[in-house]
C-alpha cells in the first residue's frame, strides 16, 4: 500500500491561500467582518443588555450574548462559500485547471488542497472576529457565556464551515460555470441559514445543551458524507468536458426510463430480472431500515414515560362500539384516502431523502413505527389490552403496510449510499437519476401494490376485526 502523502495537498492549499490574500475582493469582506462586525455586535450587545435590564428581563440579554458570538463567527465563514464554489469551476473557466490535472496529483490530494484552502482563511477570520467580540465583552464587563456554550459555538463554527465548504466544492466540481455554481449555492446557504435560526432557538431556550451537540454531530456526519460524495464523483474528465448549461430533458428521461426499464422484455421478465436485481442490491439498506424500525419502536415506547397520556376512565368496549358506528367499513372512499395518504407520505420521504442523502427519507418510518411504539406503551400504562388491540387493529394491514414502508425507506437510503459510492464512469447526475429509478422500481413493482392491499385490509378487514374482538 502506498503511503499517504499529504504534501501535494498542502502545496495546493498554500498557493491558493496566498492567492486569496492578494485578492482584495476576498480580503476586504474578511477584514471587515473580522474587525468591524464584532465591534458592531459588541455595541448591539451593550445596548440590548441595557434595554432589557430596564424591564428586568436580564435573561433575554444573557441568552443573546452567545447568539451574537455565533453570528460573529458565522459571517466570516460565509466567505468560504464563495471561495469554495469557485475552487474547481473557476479554475476551469480561467483555463488553469488542465495543467493542474496533468500534474502527478492523486484526486484526493487535489480535492483536499481545495478544501483546506477554502476553509482555513475564513475560519481564521472567524476566530479573529470571535476573539475581538469576546475581548469587547471583557472590556465592557459583560459576563461571558459558560465554557460549554463557548466550546459549542467554536465547534459549531468549524463544522458549519466544513459543511459549507465541502458542499460548495461538490457543487464546484459538478457545475459547468461559476454562474451555475453560484445559482446552486442557494441549496447550501438556505439550509445553513435555517440551521442558524434553529441554533438560535436552542440557545434562547437555554435549557437543552445536548441539542447543540446533536447538531454538531449531524453536521459532522453531513460533512463526511459530502466529502465522500465529492471524492466519489470527482472526475478529471467531467471538469474538462462539460461546457454548456442546458437542461437536457431527453437525456434525463433516457437515463430514468433506461434504468427503470432495465432492458426487460416483458412485465414478468422485469419482475424476475430487473426488480429482482434491485431487491438484491437493496439487502444492506433493507437491513438498516429494519434495524432502524426496531430502534424507533423502542424509542417511541420510551417517550410514553416522558409524554404521558392518561386516558379518561370509562368502559373500553363501549367506546369501541361507539367508534364502530363511525368506522368507514367497506367503503371505496376510505381505501382511496388511506392509500393516497400512505403514498404521499412515502413520496415526501423520497423528496426529503433526496436533499439529505437518504437520511431524512426515514421520517415516514420513524413517524409510523415511533407512534406505534408510543401508543402501545400508553395502552399498557392505561391498562388496556395492548396485545389484543395491536393484533386486531394494526397487524391485519400492518403486516402488508410495514414491509412496504421498509422497502421504500430502504430504497431512499440506497440513494444516499449510491451517491457516496465511487463510480468513475458516471456523473453525479447519472447516479442520482439511476438511484431515483431504483426507488421507482421498488415503488411501482412492490410498494404501491402492497399499499393498495394494505388500504383495502385497513378499510374492510381491520375494523371488522376490532369490532369482532371488542364490539
Amino acid at each position: 500500500m502506498e503511503a499517504i502523502d499529504i504534501r501535494p495537498a498542502l502545496i495546493i492549499a498554500q498557493r491558493e491561500v496566498r492567492d486569496q490574500f492578494r485578492d482584495w475582493r476576498i480580503i476586504f469582506p474578511i477584514v471587515f467582518l473580522t474587525l468591524f462586525f464584532p465591534f458592531l455586535m459588541n455595541f448591539t450587545a451593550r445596548q440590548l443588555l441595557n434595554f432589557v435590564n430596564q424591564y428586568g428581563a436580564g435573561l433575554v440579554g444573557e441568552r443573546l450574548i452567545p447568539f451574537l458570538l455565533l453570528i460573529t463567527g458565522f459571517f466570516p465563514i460565509s466567505v468560504s462559500l464563495v471561495i469554495a464554489l469557485e475552487s474547481f469551476v473557476g479554475e476551469k473557466e480561467r483555463g488553469s485547471i488542465e495543467p493542474l490535472l496533468t500534474s502527478p496529483l492523486a484526486d484526493w490530494q487535489l480535492y483536499l488542497g481545495k478544501l483546506l484552502s477554502s476553509t482555513v482563511p475564513p475560519l481564521v477570520g472567524s476566530f479573529l472576529g470571535m476573539s475581538v467580540y469576546i475581548s469587547g465583552l471583557l472590556i465592557n464587563r459583560i459576563p461571558l457565556p459558560d465554557a460549554e456554550t463557548l466550546l459549542q459555538i467554536i465547534v459549531l463554527t468549524i463544522t458549519q464551515a466544513v459543511v459549507m465548504v465541502s458542499g460548495a466544492v461538490v457543487v464546484s466540481t459538478q457545475a459547468t460555470s461559476v454562474r451555475a455554481a453560484n445559482l446552486l449555492a442557494s441549496f447550501i446557504i438556505i439550509p445553513m441559514a435555517l440551521l442558524i435560526q434553529a441554533e438560535a432557538v436552542v440557545m434562547f431556550w437555554g435549557r437543552d445543551t445536548l441539542s447543540l451537540w446533536w447538531i454538531v454531530f449531524g453536521l459532522l456526519v453531513l460533512a463526511v458524507l459530502l466529502i465522500r460524495i465529492g471524492l466519489a464523483h470527482f472526475q478529471r474528465e467531467e471538469l474538462l468536458g462539460r461546457e454548456i448549461d442546458v437542461l437536457n430533458i431527453r437525456w434525463i428521461w433516457r437515463i430514468l426510463w433506461g434504468s427503470f426499464h432495465g432492458g426487460a422484455r416483458n412485465v414478468l421478465d422485469w419482475y424476475r430480472n430487473v426488480l429482482g436485481k434491485t431487491l438484491l442490491d437493496l439487502r444492506g439498506s433493507l437491513l438498516a431500515a429494519v434495524l432502524l424500525a426496531v430502534i424507533v419502536i423502542i424509542l417511541g415506547a420510551q417517550q410514553a414515560d416522558r409524554f404521558l397520556l392518561i386516558l379518561p376512565e370509562g368502559d373500553f368496549q363501549q367506546r369501541v362500539r361507539e367508534l364502530g358506528f363511525n368506522l368507514p367499513v367497506g367503503g371505496i372512499g376510505s381505501v382511496q384516502q388511506i392509500f393516497f395518504q400512505n403514498v404521499r407520505a412515502l413520496v415526501i420521504g423520497l423528496l426529503l431523502g433526496l436533499f439529505s442523502f437518504g437520511v431524512l427519507g426515514t421520517l415516514p418510518l420513524f413517524a409510523t413505527l415511533g407512534l406505534l411504539g408510543y401508543f402501545t406503551r400508553i395502552m399498557e400504562i392505561n391498562q388496556l389490552p395492548a396485545a389484543q388491540i395491536i393484533l386486531s387493529g394494526v397487524v391485519p394491514h400492518g403486516i402488508v403496510e410495514v414491509p412496504a414502508i421498509l422497502l421504500s425507506t430502504a430504497a431512499v437510503l440506497r440513494i444516499g449510499f449510491l451517491l457516496a459510492t465511487p463510480m468513475k464512469d458516471k456523473t453525479v447526475g447519472e447516479v442520482f437519476l439511476m438511484a431515483i429509478a431504483g426507488w421507482m422500481q421498488v415503488m411501482v413493482g412492490l410498494v404501491v401494490p402492497l399499499l393498495l392491499l394494505a388500504a383495502v385490509i385497513e378499510s374492510w378487514i381491520t375494523p371488522l376485526m376490532i369490532l369482532r374482538l371488542f364490539g
Binding site: R15, R94, G95, S96, T102, L105, E237, K424
Partner: protein, 312 residues
Amino acid sequence: MIYAENLTKHFADFVAVQGINLDVQAGQVLALLGPNGAGKTTTVRMLTSVLRPTSGIARIAGYDVVEEAEKVRSSVGVLTEHHGLYSRMNADEYLTFYGRLYRMPDSLIERRKRELLEQFGLGEARKKKLGEYSKGMRQKLALVRALLHNPPVLLLDEPTSAMDPESARIVRDAIRALRSDQRAVILCTHNLAEAEMLADQIAIIRRGRIILNDVPERLKQLLLGPEEYEITLRNGAGVPPEVLPLGVVVSRQENGRYVFRIDQPEEKIPLLLKRLLDQQLPVLSCAPVPRSLEEAYLRAVSLHEENGNGSN
C-alpha cells in the same frame, strides 16, 4: 516511448477518437495535424491520463495511462491549449509551485528555473506578475512549465501560436534540442511549415481517426506523386527534345524553365546536366521543385472527403 493501440474515446454517443495507433520513439517528433475538433486534444488528454480511454491501450514511457496514471503524469510535460497561468503570481512563484507538485527538490527547481527562463528570454521578467505578461510570454512560460521537471515525453499543443518570429525560433530550437536529447515529442499544430521543419513523423487526424501516418517525404510522395525537378536556362533558352535522356517527362515548360519527372533521379539528373552542358546550353540551376506539407495535407483531406468519409 509513446505507444497507443486502437485508442478510442466516446463521449456518450459522440465518437471523439476512434482506433488511433501511435508509436513515437525516443528522439522522435510526431506532428499531429488536423482541423479544430478533429480529436487532437482528446488524444493528448488520453495520453496524459486526464481522460480515460473508452477502449484501446496507451503507454507513456512504459506506463499504462489507465493503471499507472500518476506515473504517466510524472513522465509527461504538457503544453495545454489554455496556458493556465495564475495572474497574481510571478514566474518564479509559479514555477516553484509546479516544481514542488512534481516533487522536485528546491535546489533543482531553482537551477531549472534559471536555465529555462534564460533560454526562453524570460529571465528579466521572472518577478513580474503573470497578469502583466504578453500572450507570447505566457506561451513561453507555459512551455517552461512543461519542461521544468525534465520529462522524457512532451505533448505540446500549438507551441508557437501567438509568438513573434524570434520567440517562435527559440521554441523551435528548443524542440530540436529535445529531440537530440532523446525525448519523444508529440506536436499538435495547425502550422504545417513548422510541422515540416520539426517532425520526423506526420499523423493526419480527421474526425477522430488518423487517416495517414508516415515520414513527411513518403507522405508527400504518396499524396502528391513522384518528386518533380526544375531546370532553369538563362535568357529563356530552349532544350532540343533529343538532348533529354530517356525517362524524362516534362510536365511544364516556359521561358527556359523546365519542370519534369524522372526515374532514378540520382543517376539520371547528372547525365541530363552533362548533356545540357555538352550542348553548351546556359544552365542556371537544377533543383527539386519545393513541395509543401500543406499541399500534401490538403490533398489528403480532399481524398478523404472524396472517399466518402465526409461525415461521421
